[in-house]
């Protein structure tokens, strides 16, 4: 007989359904980093030198919207939306 699930998830990573550039992804862990977002959004046209503007919305209450800088991370929430773009065109 299996134990009922508990609220604390010892030994099991949380999963979150999020949107990156209008595409759905399911990611694991409490947080997501700049690099992880970069890798998920990259269709091959970006390299390590590419400057990107990464913003998130619909995140957690105390700061649901913001910008992710290189080396940064943000706490995951179901339904979060990420926008990842080079913003150099004028």
């Amino acid at each position: 007989m299996s134990k009922p699930e508990k609220d604390d998830d010892h030994g099991r990573d949380k999963e979150f359904d999020i949107i990156i550039n209008a595409q759905p992804f399911t990611v694991q862990g409490d947080e997501i980093t700049y690099q992880q977002i970069f890798d998920l959004a990259n269709d091959g046209s970006w390299n390590a030198d590419t400057s990107l503007t990464i913003t998130y919305s619909r995140g957690h209450g105390n700061k649901p919207e913001g910008t992710l800088a290189k080396g940064g991370s943000v706490k995951l929430k179901k339904g979060m939306i990420f926008d990842v773009d080079p913003t150099g065109k004028s």
């Binding site: 550039n21 209008a22 595409q23 046209s45 970006w46 030198d49 590419t50 400057s51 503007t53 913003t55 919305s57 919207e65 913001g66 910008t67 800088a69 290189k70 939306i81 926008d83 773009d85 080079p86 913003t87 150099g88 065109k89 004028s90």
Partner: protein, 395 residues
């Protein structure tokens, strides 16, 4: 005509802003043309009021005479009976080149007109009321375009929009001497469209590109095929258009490079609207060294298969009070965006260029104190799919 006298005199300013065709002669007479009235034959004609102005220094004083002179035939009611009640005699008067035939007199209930707007509009209303019975569109408020004096501001014709809204004075916060737009692509051209309507004295345009057919679809206005065939430079094309309104549009048909940075000397503000990243680093360093505040803009739009377009607009602000975010948080991309101008990889849409430009210009106006600024952000993003703005690097 002295636009300064008109601007300093609330009654004359109000007459002008309401659309009356006014002129102040050297002799100190106020002339108001295009007054509709009914002739003895029952036809609607246009006449002219003339009245001497009483002055108090550099502006008008309350009129000391309630009468007005009239050039035209004697005005009638709609039934062609003459307006005897205002007739004060068929006395000829001369003001400059104008000869008037009649003098009208009607006093307001208070006994005297407090200013020239009350006086002129009272007489104009009397005559126009009769004219409207025959022609309902008759009006003395014709809004004839008023040229501005050579030494009276940067426009060829006075900014009556600000005047009518009562914001000329706060608009003076935008009276910079020299502003530059580097890059007259989609976003730069919309920046020009907006700042050409502000009282900046000189607007310098820097771009080495030619204006091509595809540029027409992300610029303000609408060129003809002939204009495109002329293969104008971008700066030449836009200078021609905006010089119709603004005296100080100065085109520089060459890119800003590391070899000609002295062109930026003396600029009081710069809008950086270029695609190339490497030159941006050079320009940003030059602007910082010269203590010049600037705004850098950029966008990234991509096509998502089976869905549509999405992306972001960016506005980065840098002033002597706040520079380090540009470097520490990488708020400006200093390498070329992927794809360059390659077919299929450079998506820019006119409304997004316009929005990016409008956000940049509005940010500049908050820096100048034209708009109140509670946010003081130095990095902001607009997310198309969310219709959301995000602000960072608040001062």
């Amino acid at each position: 005509m002295s636009t300064q006298l008109v601007n300093r005199s609330p009654d004359l300013k109000r007459l002008r802003d309401e659309g009356y065709d006014i002129e102040v002669l050297q002799s100190g007479h106020l002339v108001v043309r295009h007054i509709p009235y009914v002739s003895a034959e029952g036809v609607v004609l246009r006449g002219t009021f003339v009245t001497p102005l009483k002055m108090a220094g550099q502006r008008t004083a309350p009129p000391d005479d309630h009468t007005v002179w009239f050039a035209g035939e004697f005005p009638c009611h709609a039934d062609r009976s003459p307006m005897d009640q205002i007739n004060a005699g068929a006395t000829q008067q001369v003001a400059g080149e104008i000869v008037t035939q009649f003098v009208f007199s009607t006093k307001p209930a208070s006994g005297a007109y407090a200013d020239n707007h009350l006086k002129i509009s009272r007489y104009a209303d009397l005559l126009t009321h009769a004219a409207r019975a025959i022609d309902p569109t008759a009006t003395p408020k014709v809004f004839r375009p008023i040229p501005a004096d050579q030494d009276d501001g940067p426009f060829h014709y006075y900014d009556t929009a600000s005047s009518r809204a009562g914001i000329t004075e706060v608009g003076r916060k935008l009276e910079l001497g020299k502003v530059a737009i580097v890059g007259l692509g989609g976003t730069g051209s919309y920046v020009l469209d907006l700042i050409a309507k502000t009282p900046i004295r000189e607007i310098h345009l820097f771009d080495g590109d030619t204006f091509s057919q595809h540029n027409a679809f992300r610029s303000p206005g609408a060129p003809s095929l002939e204009e495109l065939d002329g293969e104008p430079t971008k700066v030449g094309y836009f200078a021609t258009i905006y010089s119709k309104m603004h005296r100080g549009i100065i085109p520089h048909p060459a890119y800003v490079t590391g070899d000609n940075l002295e062109q930026l000397d003396g600029m009081e503000f710069v809008f950086l609207c270029v695609d190339k990243g490497a030159i941006k680093r050079v320009i940003v360093e030059a602007l910082e060294a010269r203590g010049i505040p600037f705004i850098d803009v950029g966008m990234g739009i991509s096509l998502v298969a089976d869905q549509g377009l999405r992306g972001q607009l960016r506005v980065t602000t840098s002033t002597p009070e706040m520079r380090q975010h540009v470097w520490e948080s990488e708020r400006i991309p200093f390498e070329d965006p992927p794809g360059g101008n390659d077919y299929g990889l450079n998506i820019q849409i006119a409304d997004m260029n316009a929005l990016n430009a409008a956000l940049a210009v509005a940010r500049w106006k908050r820096l100048r104190g034209f708009y109140i600024d509670h946010e003081r952000e130095h990095f902001s993003t607009y997310k198309i799919t969310l219709n959301g703005m995000g602000n960072e690097d608040q001062l």
